[in-house]
Symmetry: C2
Amino acid sequence: MASLRIGWIGTGVMGVSMARHCLTKGFTDFSAYNRTSSKLQPLLELGAKQMDSPRAVAENSDVVFTMVGFPSDVRDVILHSEKGVLTGLPKGGIIVDMTTSEPSLALEISEAAKSAGKFALDAPVSGGDVGARNGTLSVFVGGEEDVLERVKPILETFSGTIAHMGPAGCGQHTKAGNQVTICSNMIGMCEGLMYAHAAGLDLENYLQAISKGAAASFSLTALGPRIIKGDLNPGFYVEHFVKDLGIAVQEAQRLKLGLPGLGLAHQLYLSLLACGDGRLGTQSLIRAIERLNSRKIC
Amino acid sequence: MASLRIGWIGTGVMGVSMARHCLTKGFTDFSAYNRTSSKLQPLLELGAKQMDSPRAVAENSDVVFTMVGFPSDVRDVILHSEKGVLTGLPKGGIIVDMTTSEPSLALEISEAAKSAGKFALDAPVSGGDVGARNGTLSVFVGGEEDVLERVKPILETFSGTIAHMGPAGCGQHTKAGNQVTICSNMIGMCEGLMYAHAAGLDLENYLQAISKGAAASFSLTALGPRIIKGDLNPGFYVEHFVKDLGIAVQEAQRLKLGLPGLGLAHQLYLSLLACGDGRLGTQSLIRAIERLNSRKIC
């Protein structure tokens, strides 16, 4: 399997860690592209070859991974008729889009790939920057199962769980449900911290006390301590989470679903964009709760 | 320490499991009272003595634990001038109220105990029926630290974490913050399941896939599978959770805090009471999300 030629497009906070696991765990025939080319540097030092377009990456690859920002980036990188991955990829090649994106776009890419004698999977991930660094991400895969089997050894280099969720689009639907859950978990964590602060509790003691009981969550354990330290640096950007929640809101509307918690979280996160906090980490939701109450806790 | 005489009042879902751990782990001089006396049976079989009032329990005890339903029950059981614990307890005795109750009432009990030459701790728990059964509860303690030290060996029989949070009332404040966090976690879990169902995903597969990533939480792991199986039996009653959230809402108003997620969760849980679901478990929040959307997922 290690003879597979790998292509990687998108080396932001998540992508660079994931690509590093591939490169250092046996997939050394590796070409890469990133819009901001300086962010490729850590991979070039590990032996990756720099390409000047997504198409050029694809021409040198059997499997191309994309981990970019917004659905419009996914469309551009994969479907652009001149510079896109689908044009460059050899017949029988596989596109694995790991960006959190729209289920409908995943379907469109899957159809386009099939028409061209190629294959596509939608495979967004969960687990944050910590999961990417430690190689313990959860991957939610939509598409054909036998195609997934062929790329599994590569996915395994950076993931703890790989779940086949159904046909094309089902990976993205799973990720949308995942984000619906997380956004309310974030509200619960931030409001709990605000309450504890107002009640005069020591926040470190509070966080430690509730972290092992029924309030336990990944959000609480991974992000609570950062909030208390005043560390709002991005593991995952607010602006990307707003994108994710926007997709969930749009899909819920298409499915004719009312989800009031999602609506509240989406609006609170939008208020972070309104205040210029889009490039902070998602734990900055505490800023929205602070501004609501004119009270700083960190 | 095992020579301490233990009193126990309140043997509902949580209380009976906690008391059982005490009894089977060395604290065998054990008297108990419950309003519905049939619920004492499992403890009597382990050697507990049945008493006919909280006062009678206290007269035979060095330390009395109370685990009842509502703040009005706490007031009645502990402070009732004729039949209450405080009247019966020997000088130097300790009252440990483990009910989730009002911080202000915890302060009042602490003052009353001190005036009578006795001691009181507020020590609500988190971890649900699972934590009570397995003896892994988290205990949040308000009151004097040296008093806590004296009862710690008893608390340790049913808990994994014992945290001293500050003076009287701080245990209750911690629990309120804990419930503020949990209620939004519950919204996140239920809305995610509803979304996944509407998107056509297999719910068991969905739940397993997201349970290890950034959406992970105690709620998801402990209660998600029950929802999918249609098991809405109470680990923790909706009516008790509504009481807890009501306390948090009331305290937040006293502290002049706006917590929109808490407000939403409180209203959704109140809608369960409106529909007669008060004696179901807290995972029945899914019923509110189902009713909103005229769509059953279980």
